[in-house]
């Protein structure tokens, strides 16, 4: 059976996007002011232009105007002069003119709260996005840029991200270490590295590089990352106090403090202090980003006293995680799936959106093709992830794709089931049961399903138990097995909590199927 892998405790780990989008989201801005910008003047260039009008003096004045940000009637004259004889101008000079004429930089156009490298409308488009050949070209191009731009940490981070999306862990780590070597104090590099090391469960390394960074104590974005990483490791960050100091300092905007407030709120929430947590979360929601919004959405699922409707925060860019979780909770499978896809496109190395999306597609929307694609894509970045592999095999088995099933089942069998968490063991056993049934080994299949149900009972996980029973019942009906009535009764008598709308749907599908069969 397929499952949504949900993290037990979500932390405010930095989201990792390409540099351009990170800039556009304002996560690299700095309002901690230590100096006034320099004042320039262009009098000398204006004087020269007045004395002799030619393309050289015009270019000189345009350069000065652009560098200084100063406009004047003489600058306009110089612009007209160059425009009147463009053959003598270069494209750079004409570009400078355009920028001067714009006067102020154009803010990025962000429609529907969506800022993605590439957007898709259909699953086929999604599939072509992750097309091997074109992706390989992007990696090669970026690799070539690193060769030409050896001292550019940004491009090394971009390469690391691309490698991570492809599941090339060692290459990605080398690239991220190079970036850290060049720019050990850069916020973009450090936050990207933190996410990378956490993705690879190398928490110590994440903390090591954060701790080494100069200016860590004055950067709310980095303190938040440090607190969150320490929390994953079950430690208390020594920077909690500094973080609280920054919150009270009035030196930062609400947006700059949103993740830090959210991290501190999560700590208090974990400690059971609802009141303190509420204060921090309220602060984090003054101007949230996608991460702090998703954090409160996640917390609200755990603690009813936190109420949040992510759709009310219509200024948050890329709120896909929060929306996907909320829509899933509401049982709006189609929109939840759509937001999972967007969430994955935003963070194409993360397995959580792939798991949620594939589960919704395969188990709730009955779109096996989409589920299979999402699992495959998720596996590219996380090649050995047992849950993704499990979900892929489940979707292949239920779509009777024998050829692909034969390719992936051996991979699944290679996983050491004893090393998995108990919940995953249950899922694995149920899926292997399904595969055996599909392959005609009814005895083994039924045995595996029963073991899964028993283990779910043993670990007192009613959700997994009911899910395994429902899946088993569905297969027994398909096989027209004499045992089906036992499990149909179990399904009929299931008491499913309101929050498990997926199980409710499965239950209703099974009962509908029996009724249809009975009528026939």
């Amino acid at each position: 059976m397929a499952v949504i892998y949900e993290i037990k405790e979500r932390r405010v780990i930095p989201n990792w996007r390409d540099f351009k989008r990170t800039l556009q989201l304002g996560e690299l801005s700095q309002s901690n002011k230590s100096a006034e910008p320099i004042i320039l003047n262009i009098d000398r260039s204006i004087e020269d232009w007045k004395q002799g009008k030619n393309i050289g003096t015009a270019a000189d004045l345009i350069n000065s105007a652009f560098v200084s940000g100063i406009q004047s009637s003489e600058v306009k004259q110089a612009i007209e002069f160059i425009k009147s004889d463009q053959q003598k101008a270069s494209s750079s000079l004409l570009d400078l003119i355009k920028l001067i004429e714009l006067d102020s930089p154009t803010p990025p156009v962000i429609s529907n709260n969506s800022l993605l490298e590439i957007d898709v409308d259909t699953v086929n488009e999604f599939q072509s996005f992750i097309n091997n050949k074109s992706f390989h070209k992007v990696i090669n191009k970026t690799k070539n840029r690193t060769k030409n731009e050896l001292r550019n940490p940004i491009i090394w981070v971009e390469l690391a991200r691309l490698y991570t999306m492809r599941g090339h862990e060692h290459k990605a780590e080398n690239a991220i270490l190079t970036a850290l070597h060049i720019a050990p104090n850069n916020r973009f590099v450090l936050r990207s590295a933190t996410r990378f090391f956490i993705h690879k469960e190398k928490f110590d390394k994440a903390l090591f590089y954060l701790r080494k960074a100069e200016g860590l104590k004055d950067d709310p974005w980095l303190i938040s990352a440090h607190i969150a990483t320490s929390s994953i490791m079950g430690r208390f960050s020594p920077l909690i106090k500094e973080g609280k100091r920054l919150l009270d300092s009035n030196n930062f905007s609400d947006y700059e403090l949103t993740e830090l407030s959210s991290s501190l709120g999560t700590l208090e929430f974990k400690d059971g202090s609802f009141k303190k947590a509420k204060g921090f979360f309220e602060k984090s929601m003054k101007m949230p980003n996608d991460n702090s919004l998703a954090q409160l959405e996640w917390v609200s699922k755990d603690e009813q006293r936190f109420q949040i409707n992510p759709f009310q925060f219509d200024k948050v860019i890329n709120p896909f995680e929060a929306r996907a979780l909320e829509l899933y909770e509401r049982g709006n499978w189609k929109d939840a799936f759509y937001n999972s896809i967007k969430w994955f496109l935003d963070m194409p190395f993360s397995k959580r959106p792939a798991l949620l999306g594939s589960y919704i597609a395969g188990s709730l929307l009955n779109d096996k093709k989409a589920a299979i694609i999402l699992c495959q894509v998720g596996l590219q970045a996380n090649p050995y992830d047992p849950t993704l592999l499990n979900n892929l095999v489940y979707n292949l088995a239920t779509s009777d794709n024998q050829q692909m099933l034969d390719a992936y089942v051996p991979q699944m069998m290679e996983i050491d089931i004893n090393g998995l968490p108990n919940e995953s063991k249950v899922t694995f056993q149920a899926t292997l049961g399904l595969v055996s049934l599909k392959r005609g080994d009814t005895e083994l299949g039924m045995k595996m399903y029963k073991v899964a149900i028993q283990n779910a009972t043993n670990i007192r996980n009613d959700y997994l138990k009911n899910l395994a029973i429902a899946n088993f019942a569905m297969e027994l009906i398909n096989l027209n097995s004499p045992e089906q009535m036992i499990y149909i009764d179990l399904v009929r008598n299931m008491k499913i909590p309101e929050k498990h709308k997926d199980l409710q749907q499965l239950q209703s599908e099974i009962l509908k199927k029996i009724n249809t069969q009975a009528k026939n």
Binding site: K33, D48, G56, K88, S92, G215
Partner: protein
């Protein structure tokens, strides 16, 4: 009485000066030339020799700095004049071939004026500055551009050899001679010298035109090491001049163009270190853009390599890559005798490039 009527510096036409120069005419603003705010320029002759005279205009000081004590102004401007004269004489004594040379200097006293003294400098006559010769379209006058840049590199190398850093190298300060065939570095008014203290040496602030300045100065970063700062600045300015010759934009503008506005010097309010990495990213984009302004790939690659080490936005990383590692002592301190900012490699490279271009592009 109008300003010019009581201005000795404006009243030299027709005069024969003490050291034999006859003032022919005032040079009205001429295409491509830079008169400067504080000087009046004339054409002068002595026998068959024709030259350019720059007279110090005291009156302009009072116009420019109204409200400041007169003693302070006179002192400041006199020091500036003396400094430039001393530097020019130093260049003359060392026979620098690619620096616009002083031919003579002196002081004339014209009776009947409020300020009768007119100190002056006489320079060899140029054909104007390089801007009047510019065409930024692709593949135009490549050989000439390379030759001119070679001359400028030689000029800077010569200046450095006598402990002078130009500090204000920009298109208007590259002067043309012999119908544009020879280029020389001009205007040492904002230069710095290791052995002569400059009146404008203001705690290490950039003395030249800030619109051409290396980016670190725009973020108020001043390297504490005089020698390092002065040489790395000249190297940046030279690289920026290469960019201007071929693209019409200087490197500072190109970096600014490729930099997100929030990090640009006109907006940034943090420290220089905080913007390092974004400058580097923008710098590489600028180099890519520069390359696209040259059709010949080989030439584009060669020039880009030179620009990359001349204009790297972090001063510690600027300079010839082989010399950067050499510039550190074993304890990590800076080796001041290194040739990180030496122009000899650049001179050799431009020598080859312009000779090749003579065959390739002519």
């Amino acid at each position: 009485m109008s300003t010019n009527q009581d201005n000795a510096a404006h009243s030299l036409v027709g005069k024969e000066l003490k050291n034999g120069w006859t003032v022919l005419k005032k040079i009205e603003p001429k295409e491509g030339s830079t008169g400067g705010f504080f000087s009046v320029c004339y054409v002068v002759t002595r026998g068959e020799e024709e030259a350019f005279l720059k007279a110090l205009n005291f009156q302009a000081f009072f116009q420019m700095f109204r409200g400041r004590p007169i003693v302070e102004i006179i002192n400041e401007q006199t020091n500036a004049y003396q400094f430039e004269r001393d530097l020019l004489l130093r260049c003359k004594n060392n026979k620098l071939s690619k620096v616009s040379m002083i031919v003579d200097e002196g002081e004339e006293v014209l009776e009947g004026f409020t300020i009768p003294n007119v100190p002056y400098l006489v320079f060899e006559m140029s054909d104007g500055d390089v801007r009047s010769h510019m065409n930024f379209s692709k593949d135009v006058e490549i050989a000439w551009k390379l030759q001119s840049l070679h001359n400028v590199a030689v000029g800077l190398k010569q200046l450095h050899s006598i402990e002078i850093g130009h500090q204000d190298l920009k298109p208007s300060n590259v002067l043309l001679y012999q119908d544009g065939i020879v280029s020389k570095v001009g205007d040492l008014g904002r230069s710095l010298c290791a052995e002569i203290e400059a009146p404008h040496e203001n705690g290490g602030d950039f003395p030249g035109d800030l619109n051409y300045a290396p980016t670190e100065f725009l973020y108020r970063y001043i390297d504490p090491d005089w020698n390092f700062r002065v040489r790395s600045t000249d190297m940046y300015l030279f690289g920026s001049l290469i960019v201007f010759y071929f693209s019409g934009a200087n490197m500072t503008a190109l970096i600014g163009k490729n930099l997100d506005p929030q990090f640009k010097w006109t907006h940034w309010r943090g420290k220089f270190e905080g913007v390092h990495d974004y400058l580097v990213d923008a710098f590489y984009k600028a180099i890519k853009e520069f390359k696209s302004s040259i059709s010949d790939k080989e030439l584009g690659d060669e020039l880009s390599k030179i620009i990359e080490y001349c204009c790297f936005p972090i001063p510690e990383r600027r300079g010839h890559p082989k010399a950067i590692t050499l510039s550190l002592n074993r304890d990590g301190s800076r080796n001041l005798n290194s040739n990180q900012f030496d122009f000899h490699r650049i001179v050799s490279k431009f020598d080859i490039l312009y000779r090749m271009a003579n065959y390739k592009f002519k």
